[in-house]
């Protein structure tokens, strides 16, 4: 393997350090969040670190090939991703009423997580020509990307993993917006967007999903049932007050008042222990990271790189925002992990592959 030495000089150290800071905070937080589990926090930390190490290897691999080469093969990568997602439905491992994992070489992976960056590359490859021509997309133009997004969306929602499904759809729209839409396209999309909640409510949503929405609207409607998680979550966050209860001193998660507090609800653990001050710092790190992604997109060598970088920025933004909003009861409960922070190998790998792509794009920004 031959690595062009020049690229080291162009490595985006800002992005790397910012990402490492978030991951470091996440690892520390994970120790506290999992300390009450019978298997102990050590076990979780090691698993997360193994995933991190594998992610670093993936970063190197991803960076080695020019992102344009990767994009050229994006259709095969996409098909591979779809294959894995279908495989989940057939031989998936069930946990908590959902089939989301498959076991490969003793590792259980969650293909829907990997589908996010794959879809970004796939869509970017499909659409960057339009972006270069700078022609706003007509309805006909968006039909194809929407279709290719809906296929994994439907498969993933069937698992059911509504959270990842929502992320995929939102990221697809963000990319379409980034490329530019005709006014008529905007109008139609807004129209569809306005009626889709009703269709979803009446035809698509499962009873427990409806209950989550209802208890989001009125938290006290069912405090012992679906409202319980939301209520305990805001109690955890609120009880952190200005300075927090201190590392390892949170009681809400430790005494099991909050379910999934090491994965989807991990922000409550952090906010309870580090308070308002800690949360502001974490928010600042995320915003700074997302901003850096956008910078990479802006300075990318070509439209392909810009779209990929923007797509990744939108993945991180959507996940961060929805996850935090869910924890502080500004959004209904939905299973979306907090990037770099939530426990889960697939999520972390997916994020690190994305970082690999970002570094790939940023180091090649001066190439011709």
């Amino acid at each position: 393997m031959r690595i062009d030495k020049r690229r080291y000089y162009h490595l985006d150290w800002y992005l790397i350090i910012n990402g490492l800071l978030i991951f470091g905070i996440g690892l520390l937080n994970l120790v506290s969040a999992t300390s009450s589990f019978s298997s102990g926090s050590y076990n979780f930390m090691i698993k997360q670190l193994i995933a991190f190490a594998m992610g670093l290897v993936l970063i190197v691999i991803v960076m080695y090939y020019d992102y344009r080469v990767i994009a050229n093969h994006s259709r095969w990568i996409y098909l591979g991703g779809i294959f894995l997602v279908v495989l989940v439905l057939i031989i998936g491992l069930a946990a908590g009423g959902a089939k989301r994992w498959i076991s490969i070489f003793g590792f259980s992976i969650q293909p829907s997580e990997l589908m996010k960056p794959i879809l970004v590359i796939f869509l970017a490859n499909m659409l960057y020509e339009k972006k270069r021509q700078n022609t706003p997309l007509s309805l006909k133009d968006i039909a194809k990307p929407l279709l290719w997004t809906l296929i994994p969306f439907v498969l993933i929602v069937k698992q059911p993993d509504l959270g990842t499904g929502i992320v995929i759809i939102l990221v697809c729209f963000a990319i379409l917006w980034y490329i530019g839409l005709k006014k008529s396209t905007y109008a139609v999309l807004f129209g569809v967007g306005a009626i889709s909640p009703f269709i979803a409510w009446h035809y698509l949503m499962k009873p427990y999903q409806k209950m989550r929405v209802l208890s989001f609207i009125n938290i006290d409607a069912d405090p012992a049932g679906f409202g319980y998680h939301a209520k305990q979550a805001i109690i955890a966050v609120g009880s952190g007050r200005f300075l927090g209860k201190g590392f390892m001193a949170g009681t809400q998660h430790k005494l099991q008042f909050i379910p999934e507090h090491h994965t989807d609800f991990i922000f409550t653990v952090f906010s309870e222990e580090w308070g308002f001050i800690g949360s502001v710092v974490l928010f600042a790190l995320f915003i700074s990271f997302i901003n850096r992604c956008l910078k990479i997109a802006m300075n990318a060598h070509d439209e392909l790189g810009a779209i990929i970088a923007f797509g990744i920025a939108s993945i991180i933004y959507v996940q961060f925002t929805i996850n935090v909003m869910m924890a502080i009861h500004l959004a209904p409960v939905v299973g979306i992990p907090l990037p770099f922070i939530s426990y889960g190998g697939s999520s972390l790998l997916s994020m690190l592959v994305s970082v690999g792509l970002l570094l790939n794009i940023s180091t090649r920004r001066y190439m011709f």
Binding site: N134, G238, S239, S271, I328
Partner: protein, 601 residues
């Protein structure tokens, strides 16, 4: 154009980021700063449960130090509303595990609706071990349930002491509403409802402790934060004697009636038995509806303490009162005789003596021994009802004696003033004739007649009946000793008491005495029988049997009154019970004596 377009996209992105950050920070500020204190409190309430440690109730001992009421551990089921996830899952699940209706559980929860949701509600008390095991095994599936080991009141002699010791039961809603009196009580607490348990509630109860524990989301205790130990209730040492009580109770067991025995030198209550009774243990473990209805609706009124609440005409036992008063006033003396021809004509009515042929010429001694009615018709008329009333009142008759039990009845001792007040009518002398032999408008309780007996036995002095001798703390420190309180201390004319006491000794020990069959070997017992008409002239019920007695005759250490409702004759129904008590007290072993007598033959 292209650059312009791009930079406008990034401006939008920046705007979105700024708005997002603003919204999130405002919300965080609201939760963590504005409502931080409230949320912190909620999180503390979440994890900290205050658990009551019920103080062990004071033990009740008899005068020899034998345990009459104590506490033993019991397993109780609690439900914490806050921890319930799915109401019907928990309630139905619990109803299935323990023999208990769904409605009963819901009712209990409704009763405690005023308490905070973190307050555990007691659902069932004293569950058997197999239910404990079942609930323990399924607890994880029914969040909100907990089992607590708590002291439970135990009455080893069950019904034999039911009317004296009383019982404890869960505090009722009505009692809880009386905030002043019951401010330290919360639903599920036990409170003395009857008998000594009620009179001495404040001494017996002790002070409950508290344990603050950290619990997790399904209510499991994670660790104890701190403990305030309970202060056990103080013990009561009674004047009551276990063996005497059991002797009297056994004799009454199959009948209706009461026995009261006092120490004439102190007023200490040695025996206070009443039958029918009930099992106080049923109340202490949370009485079931059917058990309660069975007791409450029983026509024999097992919840009435006949010894202090039952009013009965005293019959001939009342003659002692008349003899004392008439002799003291000099209306009659030892030699005064009246002729008994079996009847006494007064007005247009003939009052009969119980002995058809009459007693002939009788003095006061024979009149007591043989219970001549005609003699006392004459004495009664000479005394007049008011002097009988006043004297009886002084001794403790026709008013509450002040025994340390709740709801004592005062009975009735008539007077002209009473008749005027009650019926607005003058007193007729003919009524005095009836009163003279303890009939008519005279209603006395067994404890009051025991006071009369005690007055004679105590040579003109009697004391307020007192069941509790002293209150002792768990460390053995005597907190309070109840000194004898004099009820009546009269200087009677010399010789009066000797005459009456001779008469009463004769009742048991002389030939022709009405209670000759109840003579006690080795111990001289004195007494007076009574056979009182029950019901009215129209509805004839069996006569009530009375016997008042004291022993030994010369220096009495026990004075008593026995009543057997519809027992027919004082001599055959009531006197043997007094004999039994005396034999038990003085350890007279009848059977062995008889065996020896056979040997000698």
């Amino acid at each position: 154009m292209k650059e312009e377009n791009l930079s406008s996209k990034y401006k939008w992105c920046t705007l979105v980021l700024v708005i997002t950050m603003t919204v999130l920070l405002i919300r965080l500020w609201d939760l963590q700063i504005m409502r931080g204190a409230e949320m912190r409190k909620l999180s503390e309430q979440n994890r900290i449960r205050v658990k009551k440690i019920v103080a062990p109730r004071g033990i009740i001992y008899d005068r020899m130090g034998k345990v009459l009421a104590d506490t033993r551990p019991s397993f109780n089921i609690y439900l914490t509303p806050e921890d319930i996830r799915d109401f019907s899952q928990t309630v139905d699940g619990l109803a299935k595990l323990i023999a208990c209706d769904r409605e009963e559980i819901i009712e209990k929860m409704k009763a405690a609706s005023g308490m905070p949701p973190s307050f555990p509600i007691k659902i069932k008390s004293d569950i058997p071990m197999d239910e404990v095991a079942r609930v323990e095994a399924h607890r994880v599936y029914i969040p909100g349930i907990s089992i607590q080991i708590e002291p439970k009141r135990n009455y080893p002699y069950a019904a034999s002491f039911a009317h004296v010791i009383g019982y404890v039961s869960e505090v009722s809603d009505e009692e809880l509403k009386d905030k002043k009196k019951h401010k330290d009580y919360s639903p599920g607490d036990y409170i003395g409802k009857y008998g000594l348990e009620r009179s001495y509630e404040n001494d017996l109860r002790g002070v409950d402790g508290e344990k603050r524990v950290e619990v997790d989301a399904i209510g499991r205790e994670v660790r104890t934060l701190d403990v305030i130990d309970p202060i056990p209730g103080n013990s009561l040492h009674l004047n009551l004697d276990l063996e005497l009580q059991l002797s009297a109770d056994k004799a009454l067991e199959t009948r209706k009636g009461a026995a009261a025995a006092l120490n004439p030198k102190t007023g200490g209550v040695l025996v206070l038995a009443s039958r029918p009774g009930f099992d106080p243990n049923l109340f202490a473990s949370g009485i079931s509806k059917t058990d309660w209805q069975k007791i409450a609706l029983d026509k024999l009124h097992p919840l009435q303490n006949r010894a202090i609440q039952g009013g009965y005409p005293p019959g001939s036992t009342f003659k002692i009162l008349l003899a004392l008063r008439a002799l003291d006033l000099g209306i009659i003396n030892e030699r005064t005789t009246f002729s008994c021809g079996g009847g006494f004509a007064y007005g247009n009515r003939v009052f009969k003596c119980w002995k058809k042929g009459g007693h002939g010429s009788v003095s006061v001694h024979r009149a007591i021994v043989e219970s001549c009615d005609v003699f006392f018709y004459n004495v009664g008329l000479k005394l007049g009802v008011d002097r009988i009333h006043d004297f009886g009142n002084t001794l403790g008759l026709g008013r509450v004696t002040g025994i340390d039990l709740p709801n004592e009845q005062k009975g009735l001792l008539p007077s002209t003033e009473w008749k005027k007040r009650r019926y607005n009518q003058p007193w007729y002398e003919g009524e005095t004739v009836s009163v003279a032999i303890g009939q008519g408008a005279v209603w006395l309780t067994p404890i009051q007649l025991a006071m009369l007996s005690s007055f004679v036995a105590g040579d003109g002095k009697n004391y307020k009946p007192q069941i509790v001798n002293r209150i002792v703390s768990t460390e053995g420190k005597v907190i309070k000793t109840f000194e004898p309180v004099v009820n009546a201390d009269l200087k009677l004319k010399p010789g009066v008491l000797t005459i009456v006491k001779d008469g009463m000794r004769g009742v048991v020990n002389e030939p022709g005495g009405t209670a000759g069959a109840s003579k006690v070997q080795n111990v001289l017992m004195s007494g007076k029988t009574g056979t009182a008409q029950a019901g009215s002239d129209k509805v004839k019920l069996g006569d009530h049997a009375w016997f008042i007695a004291y022993a030994p005759s010369d220096d009495a250490s026990v004075a008593m009154a026995i009543l057997v409702e519809h027992g027919l004759h004082g001599s055959s129904a009531a006197a043997p019970i007094a004999k039994g008590i005396t034999e038990t007290l003085f350890k007279v072993k009848t059977v062995i004596k008889e065996a020896k007598a056979n040997e000698n033959r």
